[in-house]
Amino acid sequence: MKDLFSRSLQTTVIFLIVGGILALAFGGFFSPVSNRFTSGLVSVQYWFAIRYQAIQQFLSAPRDIITLRARNAELETQISQLQTQVIDLQQRVSQTEILSALVDFSRANPENSYEAASVIGRDPSPFLHYIIINRGSNDGILRGMPVVTNQGLVGRIDAVIADAARVQLITDPASTLNVHLKNANTDAVLLGSVTGDISLDMISQDATVQGGDLILTSGLGGGYPPDLIVGQIINVRKLDYELFQQATVQSAVDFTRLDIVLVITNFRAVDITPLMPTPSP
């Protein structure tokens, strides 16, 4: 009976002590001590957590790298596909712009009928300035037909096969073209060269020619229709002791970037060779 009483007393005292401590704690009397205790605990927990995460990352890293590499390869494939699409679309936009300009040109010059052709090659000899186009006799192309772009005159058809034709550019060294200088109201001859530059010769000494003057085809000789834009004069060389003036010319067409051209199909070149006077013996 005495033991039972003392145990109950002990239990009661313990409860009172614990209750007292809890009451003090809830009352905020232990906060400095508990703060120190919890901060120490948090530090220890943080230390363990960081180490654990590092070990976990180390153990799971190879699997992640493999996954990431696979994903990276997949994305790179997608990027290259998209880049191909972008290039393709840019090409289409570029072609559409060229075709649109050519359509505008053909609408502005309704007196002619045109056949559009792509430039598919150049003459293998660097001494010659010829291009190959993908339209031939099957498309109604004939030798001597003029070839233009929306910028101006390109040249004329030199040879034709069924599905392709060769065009002599006006920059070819063998090319001569009768032109008309609009501002000076005089005729001249346009010559090509090995370098691809073009120049004017046979300009009358009486003509007043200036830089910037527009050069058009004159139609003389029957090789080209009249009034096609050729280029403009850069500078003039006039020497008193020479028979004619000469001039360097800026071509209207950029011959290094010929992609699509128009063949004027309703023009027939006239061969005037039989009409040329032959020297009598």
């Binding site: 090659g121 150049r122 293998p124 060294p173 090995v194």
Partner: protein
């Protein structure tokens, strides 16, 4: 029978020359893929068909070029002949032979083209032709001659396999 590879190979070279190589110009000159190919082919040991290749190449070129095929043929035959002559004299240094044939062959072929155009009435100044066309083309031909020699060596090994003597 493997010699028949010449037809598609030369056709491909002509197409590449017309569409791509002629776009990469230095001043007014550009490389002559076919000339360099013929030179490299003719210099390979055991090759016996170089003259036939030159003839075939000239015919193919003449289908797209304004230059008469006889001029092209004469130029290419000259290159092959030069290669055959040099092959036995500079046999220990094949690359030197390749450079020599490319150098002399380009000059020869361009001289022929120049003379033909001058005779036919085109006003070609010699200085401009040499400085703006021939020398840049020569440089470009020399640049492509090294990889072309390697390609042709592999091709010659395939067309004319060396037989092991028992």
């Amino acid at each position: 029978m493997r010699n028949i590879i010449a037809i598609p190979l030369l056709a491909l070279a002509v197409v590449l020359q017309s569409t791509i190589v002629s776009q990469f110009s230095l001043l007014a000159g550009y490389a002559d893929l076919i000339l360099v190919m013929l030179a490299a082919w003719a210099l390979q040991k055991g090759v016996t068909t170089a003259f036939q290749w030159a003839f075939l190449a000239s015919i193919m070129i003449s289908t797209i070029s304004h230059m008469p095929w006889v001029i092209t043929l004469a130029g290419y035959l000259g290159v092959v002949l030069l290669a055959v002559l040099l092959q036995y004299r500079v046999w220990q240094a094949p690359l030197l032979a390749m450079f020599s044939v490319t150098f002399l062959g380009t000059l020869f072929a361009h001289l022929l083209s120049f003379l033909y155009l001058r005779v036919s009435g085109d006003p070609l100044p010699f200085g401009d032709s040499m400085g703006l066309i021939t020398l840049p083309s020569l440089l470009l031909n020399l640049l492509i001659s090294i990889p072309m020699y390697g390609l042709m060596r592999d091709l010659a090994g395939w067309v004319f396999p060396v037989r092991e003597e028992a």
